[in-house]
Subunit: 205 residues, 2 copies
């Protein structure tokens, strides 16, 4: 009875990836709970049947976005640069400098996707929380290791506790993004990160 077939050729991986991308955007704009499947579908021209073929529930889709979109994105933007040099403070300063330089409307408008989901979902869904926590722990660990290495190389003060300081720096970063987001001010975000730079500088041996 039903006439269908808009998608002539099949491409399940592409479909799945399209859904993840659209879901990521929708979640970034509206949060997870308020994210509308209909809107996601409208932005992908994927049918509801296809969606529910790839993901069992909205929740599964959300979890997949965390693992397959947000985690890699943050890894590329924040973790990777640490492995490049042996002076962690210089690396961190460079990362922060880059963030300050490239700060624009889009970052300030929707903030950090990780932080957004933490505030919204971590008290409501244990599996969401674990997914987000995994990213967070990796981030802290990468930074803590870098700081410890820096201590060995005599470039970081001996009295800093790598794990604690790494935790604090991550917290400060998320805080800066959050404040910038509410002020809707790229400049406030930059001023906040500048103070973080000064703090990082104070860790030097």
């Amino acid at each position: 009875m039903t006439t269908q077939a808009i998608r002539k050729t099949r491409n399940p991986e592409q479909t799945r990836s399209d859904l993840l991308d659209a879901a990521y955007t929708e979640i970034l704009e509206s949060g997870f709970q308020a994210a509308s499947l209909e809107r996601i579908l409208a932005n992908t021209s994927v049918s509801k049947g296809a969606l529910y073929h790839h993901f069992g529930t909205k929740r599964e889709l959300g979890l997949a976005v965390i693992k397959e979109v947000i985690a890699p994105q943050l890894a590329a933007r924040w973790f990777a640069p640490f492995t490049e040099h042996d002076d962690p403070l210089a690396s961190l300063q460079r990362i922060l400098e880059e963030k300050i330089r490239t700060a624009d409307e889009s970052v300030i408008r929707y903030g950090c996707p990780l932080n957004n989901l933490i505030q919204e979902m971590s008290p409501l869904d244990e599996e969401f929380r674990r997914g987000l926590q995994q990213i967070l722990e990796l981030w802290v660990e990468v930074m803590a290791t870098a700081l410890a290495d820096g201590q060995q190389a005599q470039k970081v003060r001996a009295d800093v506790a790598p794990k604690e300081v790494a935790l604090f720096i991550v917290a400060a970063i998320e805080g800066c993004v959050g404040l910038g987001k509410n002020a809707q001010s790229v400049e406030a975000y930059q001023r906040c990160l500048r103070q973080l730079q000064l703090y990082v500088q104070s860790l030097a041996a």
Copy 2:
């Protein structure tokens, strides 16, 4: 036709205040968008008619929660202590110490109501954003003034920029709460605040 009248005696102010309290809790637990009016009503035994007599829309209720519940609460817990002494760093250390000492499950579970609403609502509703921003600006201003006073009293390093540092400290606080919340760990929250204490200490003249 309708049999009614559960509330024998009237008390409009009490009703309003009950609604604000219940809405505050519901928003804290579910976020604003996912907050259910029906659930708020169920927790107050107030009727829908009464709710819509006091508040025109759900949105108005949310804005009232920000102005009449969250703002005073934060003022009492974070701003007020500053006015008590002339050494801002000591005041801040004392506040942080207090937060570390009294940190418990409930703080860690739902996080900071201000930060929650910022992440969720500030990109979606300009009036929400302004309401939240007002609280934020007051907070930063109180702290910046205290720092500037501290500089006059030679208790704060002369090279710190009061406004910028105040902004950073607020960001760091929100960040610490956020991380503790996702880790669901009072201890992580405390460790994070301890590093903030060390930072604050480093501002001393």
